[in-house]
Symmetry: C2
Subunit: 481 residues, 2 copies
């Protein structure tokens, strides 16, 4: 006969547990205890209730009479303290092992936690040899060290906090767009556009495929196909039907770099908005998105965020609060150049990233929009401002503290004739015939932007290395797992 929770009232559990057979008693206890997650147990008000938790041991402290464990199941940074008789201690009960514990939740005498679990039964599911396990009890391992173990680093406090934050930030971004009437579009990963004629593309063919130029049809897709560098052009298609659309997914660069700033596969949030006639409108969306997502993350992942702001990037919380409180700055590209020129620093041989960080510092460490770039610097789709004496395009970058460029966007050239001319100059009018048709049939002024999701996480958490904010990092010479 099977006992189920539904059939037997909870208060009878004490009786059942007094039955004579030990294994039957354990079985009953587990069947009658309500399975709860650690995060729910920690916030539980019902002390005295019988519960069952399952997770991994994060610390073991045997004392004369009692054994203290910390058990984590990934539902929160804080573990649940488990107290039991020291005779339940076994050789298997080590840091890193997996356990199944039943007992009663009780008010904790310590100030460190509200409740603790008084365990009656502990079962070790999977052992963990502390000699072989690369993480050691009570040691705080550096981010560099744990990076070597992509299959295990999610079991460290810092990286599990990071991934909970990443998951919640994803939700926050999607909620922002949904609440504002955007339709989410799954733009394709494989594309025949090489977009801006940008280099650094990954090409895709079936495994074992030989690039044979004698073959009349050498490609799986009949044409060369690449991994997307941006969903923008596909979003422009959709903005012509839904007015406001966004995409959130992986993008790719075959950049030969192992620097702390580059990944071959990273995530981008991209939005495209029809009936947009001014960069002001775009900047408002970017600023609102940044602030709404950040406020959501700070409030729903307070504990996880605090780990970073306290131990890994001390003082960074003030920086985040400043960004949330202040209105973002706006300067023109020309002004930006003047600021860089008039600074005492020599930027001649400097990198773009250093320029960006200098500008942000100059603006009091508040994010700054740089607008209206030289027309010739921008891709074919950027809208011509038709201005004098500097001929500019209506493009914008958002620079933020610590990271530099976080977002890039522009109004798009919606005027058929102008776009047609520019594509013809580049010899691309056939390739982008479909793109021109978007302007031929019901064209509207529109614009959009992209935000690097990993850079966003770095910016709010104060993390220096982009490899520390993505579950599995891919970069030149590295594709572990």
């Amino acid at each position: 006969m099977m006992f189920t929770l539904q059939r037997i009232p909870a208060f009878t559990s004490a009786l059942f547990c007094r039955c004579s057979s030990k294994s039957f008693q354990r079985h009953c206890c587990r069947m009658l205890s309500k399975k709860v997650r650690v995060s729910d147990a920690l916030s539980s008000k019902e002390t005295g209730s019988n519960v069952r938790i399952q997770g991994w041991v994060r610390s073991v402290r045997p004392q004369k009479d009692n054994l203290f464990l910390h058990v984590n199941d990934g539902s929160s940074l804080q573990p649940l303290q488990v107290v039991t008789s020291s005779h339940l201690n076994t050789r298997d009960l080590t840091f890193g092992c997996a356990v199944d514990i039943t007992g009663t939740l009780e008010k904790s005498p310590s100030k460190r936690q509200n409740v603790e679990l008084h365990a009656q039964h502990i079962k070790v599911f999977g052992e963990c040899n502390p000699v072989d396990f690369p993480f050691k009890i009570k040691e705080r391992h550096s981010l560099e060290y744990v990076r070597q173990f992509p299959h295990l680093r999610c079991r460290t406090n810092a990286f599990s906090s990071l991934l909970r934050i990443r998951s919640e930030a994803t939700t926050a971004i999607q909620s922002f767009f949904r609440d504002n009437g955007y339709v989410q579009i799954h733009t394709p990963v494989i594309t025949s556009n090489d977009c801006e004629g940008a280099g650094e593309l990954f090409q895709v063919e079936p495994a074992g495929h030989k690039n044979d130029s004698d073959d009349p049809n050498p490609h799986f897709f009949s044409v060369p196909a690449y991994l997307t560098v941006s969903g923008q052009l596909h979003l422009e298609v959709m903005a012509g039907a839904f007015s406001a659309v966004y995409t959130f997914g992986p993008t790719f660069r075959a950049e030969n770099s192992q620097s702390r700033r580059h990944l071959a596969e990273f995530y981008m949030v991209e939005a495209e908005i029809a009936f947009t006639e001014s960069l002001d409108d775009l900047m408002k969306v970017m600023e609102d998105l940044f602030k709404a997502a950040t406020e959501h993350v700070l409030s729903s992942c307070a504990e996880d965020v605090e780990l970073f702001h306290k131990y890994i990037a001390p003082g960074h919380r003030d920086q985040v609060d400043l960004m949330l409180k202040r209105k973002f700055n706006v300067i023109s590209y020309t002004e930006a150049i003047d600021i860089l020129k008039s600074s005492s620093q020599n930027f001649t041989f400097s990198t773009e990233a250093k320029h960006e960080k200098f500008l942000v510092k100059h603006c009091g460490n508040v994010p700054v929009f740089v607008i209206n770039y030289p027309y010739e610097l921008k891709p074919f789709y950027a809208r011509d401002n038709h201005d004098q004496p500097n001929h500019t395009a209506a493009a914008v970058d958002l620079l933020v503290p610590g990271v530099g460029e976080l977002c890039g966007g522009s109004l798009r050239e919606e005027r058929l004739e102008l776009l047609s001319q520019r594509l013809a100059q580049a010899g691309l009018e056939d390739t982008y015939a479909w793109y021109l048709q978007l302007r031929e049939f019901g064209s509207v002024p529109h614009g959009g932007f992209g935000m690097g999701f990993e850079r966003y996480l770095q910016c709010i958490l104060g993390l220096h290395n982009i490899k520390d904010v993505i579950p599995f990092a891919r970069f030149s010479h590295s594709c572990l797992l």
Copy 2:
């Protein structure tokens, strides 16, 4: 001086609109009218209010005194009826053109809509030559026809409804997992696993790369890298820290097929759950996910779903209601084979898809789980049931009406020794050394499944061709845009 809505109370607008200069008057009207989306206008209770809408013309009906337009901005299937004096009709005002209209919302005398917009000003943003535009006014184009225009088909009713449903179904799935305590993981697209040794992989190298076997380091990632066919193994990593995780993203098969059932790039929902000891638990998650997501979509996209259930797959709503109402069936693989064998049909030369559909029909068109497959048919990670006389693995497929296989899952072999042996037999113990370590350090019983997102959409909408449920279809010999 700039007028903004914030500074000027709405009731003064009438005054401003009476000013003498016509262009100034138009400008004022637009500045003073609140911009609303068509969906908001349609459900507005405030008749008499001044509003501004922007969208695309879906029909033009000139009458003697009045001109009737239907304007759609993608926020809903239903357009807004616009009524204006026929002298505002111009040659530019055609099917497909983009317009900016200001006027007053009034109660409509017709039963077809609650409100209509009495337009004072109409501006045509972008024209649309009806001769060149591939879609014609009042014509209902077939799904096959519109598929030829991947950059324009989102402007048809059916495909815009589809994409709104797809966006909302995405939200529904993510909400289901979030509400149940799952952490969302962005599993990588590029991977060095070739997973189950499955064929049909896409390989990735930088564009222009030559596959030169003399090169000592011929690969960008140092190793061959592929597009993912499943995020399962990466999710298993994460289930060992968070207990319950999921991923929702693109997956790939280099399948040389142009059939209505296959895509080279499609979306998968995959979940992995630690501390799971029975297929029952997995089946419960699959059934709950299917029912929760479907109920969400039916209630939040009622109008869009109705389009499919009324015009494209008549009668399909009953099928959907049946699936929601009934408990899903469970049969063993052995029973499934017996059912097929004892049927009067000859399945000797039949396809797997036909078997699946027959089984679903046999079960009264209610979804059916098929469990416990022959051990040898399943990949190395499937958990050995150690049963007799049929040696089976704890694997499960969910078959649904119209589509066949919708989900596939299994308990995973968590016992180090057994997994180790099986990998050694396949000569894979080095390749999957990291995967074995997951069992070495705190292993737990766990399992998971994947659900094809496009197949899910086909199943609830009654659509036969998978190319009609994805924004941009990629398949052999086709990668448009």
